[in-house]
């Protein structure tokens, strides 16, 4: 079973996204900020990361840049999932190494479609 790390400072978003991702046959782990997520990745790289942008301690973009510098940090497929919906933010995320981008609000069909785009389902 593939693992998806959900990184979001909102417990509600983590719960909702977690249920959707579980329905896509992933096991789910959670982190509330980028620093916590980076620690978890150093212990074990997930197959996929669903990543919020604005979070305390370390934001999603800084996390992604740090992740891609880690050994095996290029492996996880990273899907941003954020309220930052303008083309500047989207472009910045892609340049930093994001594989896909979800604009909040989302539903189950959007997550499934985006995961399909990057070959996760």
């Amino acid at each position: 079973m593939k693992n998806c790390l959900i990184v979001d400072d909102s417990r509600v978003v983590r719960t909702v996204a977690g249920r959707i991702v579980k329905d896509l046959s992933f096991s789910v782990t959670e982190a509330a900020d980028g620093a916590q997520a980076l620690e978890m990745c150093r212990k074990e790289m997930p197959d996929a990361i669903l990543l919020d942008w604005n979070m305390p301690v370390m934001n999603g973009l800084d996390f992604l840049r740090a992740l891609r510098r880690e050994e095996k940090g290029a492996d996880p497929i990273v899907v941003f999932c954020t309220n930052e919906n303008d083309s500047e933010h989207i472009g910045e995320a892609i340049r930093a190494g994001a594989n896909e981008y979800i604009m909040k609000p989302f539903d189950a069909d959007i997550i499934e479609s985006k995961f399909a785009e990057v070959g996760l389902v």
Binding site: N85, D86, G91, M103, F106, D107, I110, S113
Partner: protein, 279 residues
């Protein structure tokens, strides 16, 4: 909803669009007609049917029938089909074309995503033989409202995130102030939309190299399906291809169209002289 209401609405759909609505799908009617009911201040479908009968209005009946036959669609919903058309069917047709002009008809295109998806995919063929071809895409639907949405090329937050990668969204669309996304102006040069009922002749649309009619024919009653197949096959150029959705069940294939020998999964017009063959 009263049983008589379901019967009235399913009869209307059958008469005007050929659509067969099974009783088991009665639950869909309320959702499909919700926009019309809201606009007309009608609380229930029973009220809507009462209104249809009390004030007969062919235009309103057409609108209701179109709403009943609407199909939910998304970008690249038939991804494998689009790939087959772009990488196999169109190059084959182009190799036989003297003018380099190819025409595609997306029949029953609903809100247009299929036609735009095809146009987007074609725009990615910069280095291939298709890059120099003059390709026109015509999308048609029974619903005037769907055709207007398709023409606008403007879709909401949820629509653009289903079937479109972020790369394709950023490359081909621009974001409006209200959060909707609009397809680039250049695409409108090659894609146009018109209202058309598949039960009517499509002679005015002209002849086509490729016709796509996915997830439409399977929902029609047998007689309507045959009529629609007559309409579609009449607009196929010699050796041109008709595509339906891969798992769609089509009746009457043997008499009007036949599976293509040149391209698996496609149909061609059956030009066999039945009398001669029988003799």
């Amino acid at each position: 909803m009263q049983e008589s209401t379901f019967n009235e609405l399913s009869d209307l759909a059958l008469r005007l669009s050929g659509q067969h609505i099974a009783a088991s799908k009665a639950y869909l009617l309320e959702a499909r007609l919700s926009t019309i009911s809201r606009r007309e201040n009608l609380a229930t479908l029973d009220d809507l049917v009462h209104c249809l009968k009390a004030r007969p209005n062919p235009r309103f009946e057409q609108e209701v029938a179109a709403a009943l036959s609407s199909k939910k669609t998304s970008f690249f919903a038939e991804r494998a089909l689009i790939e087959k058309i772009v990488t196999q069917a169109l190059p084959q047709r182009l190799s036989h074309s003297k003018t380099g002009r190819l025409r595609i008809w997306c029949a029953g295109v609903s809100t247009g995503q299929e036609a735009w998806s095809l146009a987007i995919r074609l725009s990615e063929e910069m280095g291939s033989a298709l890059a120099g071809a003059d390709i026109e895409i015509v999308g048609t639907d029974l619903s005037t409202q769907c055709v207007e949405t398709a023409k606008s090329g403007t879709y909401g937050h949820f629509d653009v995130q289903k079937g479109l990668s972020i790369h394709r969204l950023m490359t081909n669309f621009s974001r409006k102030d209200n959060g909707d996304w609009t397809i680039g102006d250049a695409f409108h040069q090659h894609v146009n939309f018109r209202r058309h009922n598949l039960l009517d002749s499509a002679r005015e649309l002209g002849a086509f190299d490729i016709i796509i009619c996915s997830n439409v024919l399977g929902g029609l009653a047998p007689a309507a399906q045959r009529r629609a197949l007559e309409t579609l096959s009449a607009q196929l150029l010699p050796d041109a291809y008709l595509f339906t959705a891969p798992d769609e069940k089509i009746e009457g294939v043997s008499s009007l169209i036949k599976p293509s020998r040149a391209l698996r999964g496609a149909f061609e017009r059956d030009t066999t002289d039945k009398k001669t063959a029988a003799a």
